[in-house]
Amino acid sequence: MSLDDDHYHYQDRISASREPEDLLLTHDEPGDLVKRLTQAWINERAAPEILKYENDCVNGLVAKCDDQQAVIDELDTGNDASILISILYQTELERIKFVLRSYLRTRISKIERHCQFILKDLSSRRKLSKAETSYAESYLKTTQDHYHSSFLSSLPLTLQVQDDVVFHRKLNMVSEPSLDEGVFCRINEDIGYFQLGEGDPIVMETGQIYIFRYGAIRALLQRGQISLI
């Protein structure tokens, strides 16, 4: 966690020292965008299923990164103080880019893993960005074509399907995210009594940390009442 604390620290200091008009380009403060993206990235990495794409956040930050690069390029390199500032800016930029690419790559790897399921399941499909949807579609086609031309084409017709279920062991060829996976989470706001499957309801208060079955708290995560850690 020290990494993120570190990160915010930089962010606060640097945002404070930035020109005011720089901050007015989007409605959100860049610092908030980074915070939101970092949380989205952590959630995405911890959750077994794909989550909603943070469109504004990503687009906002991609634009911000370009702006910031321009600011860095303009800095006077003759001056010791501006060299230090330039290094801080660049470090910040590299770290934000890291979170961005890790976030996007995590999503891509989930999309590839559960491609067939996500494309078929409407509620999952809606969580993808436009680029991701078209990526998923072409990826699915390419892999299926590959399996087909590599060996399925030489099998009897009835065996060429790529979504059958081995009935006696409940093995499904279409891999689905397991909602039974355990996740750690932190409660963001007082929720009060919450019914977890069967058994007694539990009281959820701000700041508490629990480990839950992902399926049980999925709705809370979607509403942003909890964050994964």
Binding site: L3, V62, C65, D66, I87, Q90, T91, E94, R95, K97, F98, V99, L100, R101, S102, L104, R105, T106, I108, E112, A131, E132, S134, Y135, S138, Y139, T142, T143, D145, H146, Y147, S149, S150, F151, S154, L155, P156, T158, L159, V166, H168, L171, M173
Partner: protein, 290 residues
């Protein structure tokens, strides 16, 4: 044994999880051949089973009608024998080509002569069947049919399963093997964005097609994000922008974004801007020392 080839393939996949061997075309081919054979056997089994069921049913019906009009019964009772013949065909060794088994089974069942040599080999079943018919003679026709058909179904199910389970397993093994290779190819596509001659030789033609397609989709996607290089390491966040790297594989002179030229000779160390050489670290030319 059925499934041995598939076991070999899964073992190979497991053994080579860290490196990338050449595509095992002969093994894949022999497994698909085995699947085709198993599939044919299954189809034949179903055909034989349906024929056997019909014959058995007709048999019991005929016996039933004979019992209803006792004058028609004969001493030799050819019906009885033909039913036992039928069973004997189901008991046959499954290593025989399935088509011949089916043909032999049906032809023999039709020509039900009581002096058939195969009759002796199935005596145990034969006798149990006679006793059961004797004790169930008073039952209604449907119950008698059910009793006569049950052993045929059981035998069919066992035989079918023995062939169908390895068939499914073979397909799973093939899927798993190809999938593992695709995962490796995808890794290469993200880190290198090109195929080295060495890797190219290890791929099957289909895999090369896959690689090219994948590369195309990937580039289309990453183009959305401008200069953010999505192919770089996504596990460890950068802590500083200047790092010391050691060269482990010669990569000649490179020109950095800022216009400087770096000559990266093996075993030399350089203090450089991380973003200039990050690709080379991901690709294994450099290692990050401090």
């Amino acid at each position: 044994m059925y499934g041995d080839e598939a076991t070999k393939l899964t073992r190979e996949a497991k053994r080579t999880i860290d490196h990338f061997p050449a595509y095992n075309d002969p093994l894949v081919r022999s497994i698909t051949r085995e699947i085709r054979h198993l599939h044919e056997t299954c189809q034949d089994l179903i055909k034989t089973y349906q024929q056997d069921m019909q014959l058995a049913e007709r048999e019991v019906q005929r016996r039933w009608h004979q019992q209803q009009s006792p004058s028609a019964s004969s001493a030799s009772d050819p019906n009885h024998t033909s039913l036992s013949m039928l069973e004997s065909s189901s008991h046959q060794d499954s290593s025989l080509p399935p088509s011949t088994a089916a043909v032999a089974g049906s032809s023999r069942a039709h020509g039900g002569s009581s002096s058939h040599p195969m009759a002796s080999s199935t005596r145990s079943y034969d006798s149990s069947f006679s006793t059961s018919t004797a004790s169930t003679a008073h039952l209604p026709l449907e119950a008698q049919i059910r009793l006569a058909v049950e052993p045929i179904s059981n035998i069919f199910l066992t035989k079918y399963k023995v062939h169908f389970v390895p068939l499914q397993r073979n397909k799973r093994a093939l899927m798993a093997y190809h999938r593992q290779r695709l995962d490796k190819i995808k890794e290469i596509a993200w880190a290198y964005a090109m195929l080295s001659e060495d890797t190219r030789r290890k791929l099957s033609p289909d895999e090369i097609t896959f690689y090219n397609e994948y590369e195309r989709h990937k580039n289309k996607y990453t183009a959305e994000f401008g200069d953010i290089d999505l192919g770089l390491d996504v596990l460890f966040p950068p802590k500083e922008i200047f790092i010391t790297v050691r060269v482990v594989k010669d990569c000649g002179d490179i020109v950095t974004d800022s216009g400087a030229t770096l000559s990266l000779k093996k075993n030399s160390e350089h203090f450089v801007k991380r973003s200039d050489v990050e690709r080379l670290i991901t690709q294994g030319y450099l290692i990050h020392v401090a």
